[in-house]
């Protein structure tokens, strides 16, 4: 693929993440079909990350406008795909996200070997250490992030449970007539709609 063509493709593509493992290409397509024509969906494989990383995908649309529209809607409103309440995220794709990029025309790669006797060898070694340190930092950060996400999910599950329990309780005492008996006793009106609106 020509470089210019590739650049143009990048402009039409979105990077979507926070996708659940249940999301397949078909699911993603039908989720985003309403915004335009989905030309292709490519899931980015997770080779190096921790195993519980959410899925990510590159979605290529027919027009850059459509991609922008999706990004704009998804940043303004939480968009759920195949589950809730964790929303999926979309942002503009970058060239480095693609694994089958064409070569940039006119680019030359230069290298050299440094021997231990070279004055720069020590500095290069230090830089190498830095690379590994940074890599470890990123891995740690990712781990922390996933932990935080787990925490939030737990919290939400509990709060949902608690809310649900309340509803169940109210529902049960309405169902078995205790509430209407109490209402009669206290000469009050009880309308089911107070508890279960809509």
């Amino acid at each position: 693929m020509e470089y210019a063509e590739f650049e143009e493709k990048v402009k039409r593509t979105l990077y979507v993440d926070d996708l659940s493992p249940n999301v397949t290409e078909a699911v993603l397509r039908s989720a985003l079909d309403q915004f335009g024509t989905v030309k292709s969906v490519q899931f980015i494989p997770n080779y190096l990350g921790p195993s519980n990383l959410p899925q990510r995908a590159l979605v290529e649309m027919a027009e850059p406008k459509e991609a922008k529209a999706i990004i704009s809607v998804l940043t303004q409103f939480p968009f759920m795909v195949a589950g809730m309440p964790r929303p999926v995220r979309a942002r503009a794709a970058k060239m480095e996200m693609f694994d089958d990029r064409p070569k940039r025309p006119g680019r030359e790669i230069q290298y050299c070997w440094l021997k231990p006797s070279d004055p720069d060898f020590q500095v290069a070694k230090r830089l190498k250490h830095l690379v590994q340190k940074h890599s470890a930092e990123s891995a740690l950060m990712l781990k922390q992030q996933l932990l935080k996400e787990e925490e939030l999910a737990k919290q939400q599950a509990q709060s949902l449970k608690a809310n649900y329990k309340k509803y169940e309780m109210v529902d049960s005492i309405v169902a078995d007539g205790r509430v209407s008996k109490l209402a009669k006793y206290y000469n009050q009106m009880f309308d089911r709609r107070f508890v279960f609106p809509g």
Partner: protein, 520 residues
Amino acid sequence: MSHLEKESRSREENPQFKWGILKALGQNNKNVKFYESFTYDGVEYFLYDCVYFNIQGSPETSIGKIVKIYENSTSEKRVKVVWFLRPTEIRNHLGDYVPCWNELFLASGEGVGLSSLVLLKFIAGKCNVVCASHDHRNPQASKAAIRMADYIFHCTFDVGKLAILETFPDNIDGVKVEYFFNRRIDQKPISAPNPKAKVDRTAISGLSSKSGVNKVIGTTIKKESTKDAVNVSELKHPPDKSISLKLKASSHDNGTGTARSSQCLDKLEAKVCKDSSTRATNVHPYKKRKFIMDEESDSESDKEAAQLAEDKAIKTKGQLMKVTSSLDANRGNWFHKLPWEQRLQTAQESGTLLLLENLDPSFISAEVQDLVRDALKMRVEAKMVQQTAFSSPYYGKALVILQSKKEVELAISKLEENCLMLANGRPIVASKVEIEKPNKQAGFVGHLLLDKFRVQRQNQERKKAVSTSHCSQPNTFEYDLAMEWCMLQEKSDLWWKALYEEQAKEIEVSKQLKMISTIS
């Protein structure tokens, strides 16, 4: 400032007023008098001036153009004003339009919000509004004038159609559109220095006029808030949440410090903040650390590194080699016909997998293969690891499959003993790596199941591969939970940004040490 405050305090109680030139008498009612100008509180206002108004119930001033000045039979002094709308006021109808931070929209068409009859007492000072439209009827304003303007406008907003129009109608609320465009030079100028000049001229008020003070305050605070606007909403976001100027003609306590309310309070605004800072996050890390080999770069370290590479080429005995790209692009095909995933798996199992780090993120797989072939004299298969939302914008990684375990050991030891340096100062790091097996059952958090029935339904839907996708509506519990996720996502974006900025600094420091060592 303080003596001005005192003076303005005394002026509050009795704002001065004086009629200017009488224009005409009312046709129907001879008691109604139309004027061309008036002096209020030391400032002279003319027909077709743009003016700030303090409207009750609104945190911001409203800006309008005076199209009629009159006093009716009950001695009420009013002005008829055609409004300039702020982007926040029409934010639901902006659509794709991205207004500048000081852009207004002239109301047009027919309907509510086009114009109003306002009592004079609500006037809060003059406003310099410049028309930047390229309409042929509009005298083009100079760049300086546009810069000096308090506000500019390019388009009108039709209050009836609720749409932004770039073309101007022939008249707006019965007034010829030429009166809304910039004034011709032969007409009276409406530039900012004028009110102050007029203020100076009036013998009584001088500099202590409240409107004059407010104008000075207004302009200085405007300048501060310009910076704010740039910082908070870097990418042309409507300035509704970051700045609101309160120029109350009657409040002297706020006089020197006009209240600036930051409106990131309710959740929806938080979402909007998220929008702008998300975008800022996206733009910054990558753009700053883009390492382009043979084009001009915008960071000092790039230039230093490039210079350094050249120095090295001259000084050291090691030659700067160029990687020759292989002509056969499909060279790797004769290796295996299995898909890459499988090849990776086999490589992992047989120990022929290597991870190369500290590559330029813009490398492509073929370039990595060529590099290894040239430098290590090995034929390999390589693939650049695709970058994701949290990948470091500075480092590129590649997974390399070699032909045998021995080769792996050889490569690692070679790269350890000597340093393979890329021309812009990147030493390549090689290591053994274990790749993750694709595991669909891995825990994904965040999706909640409401009840057993729901689970069954979802299973069925999953089988049909129909997406249960939707946008969450604000009045649901689900929305609140979703918002918590958005907050967390937002936070994590900021953490990553901070981490990468730190790392960039550390890289800079290390590189500078490099410079020093070469010189010494």
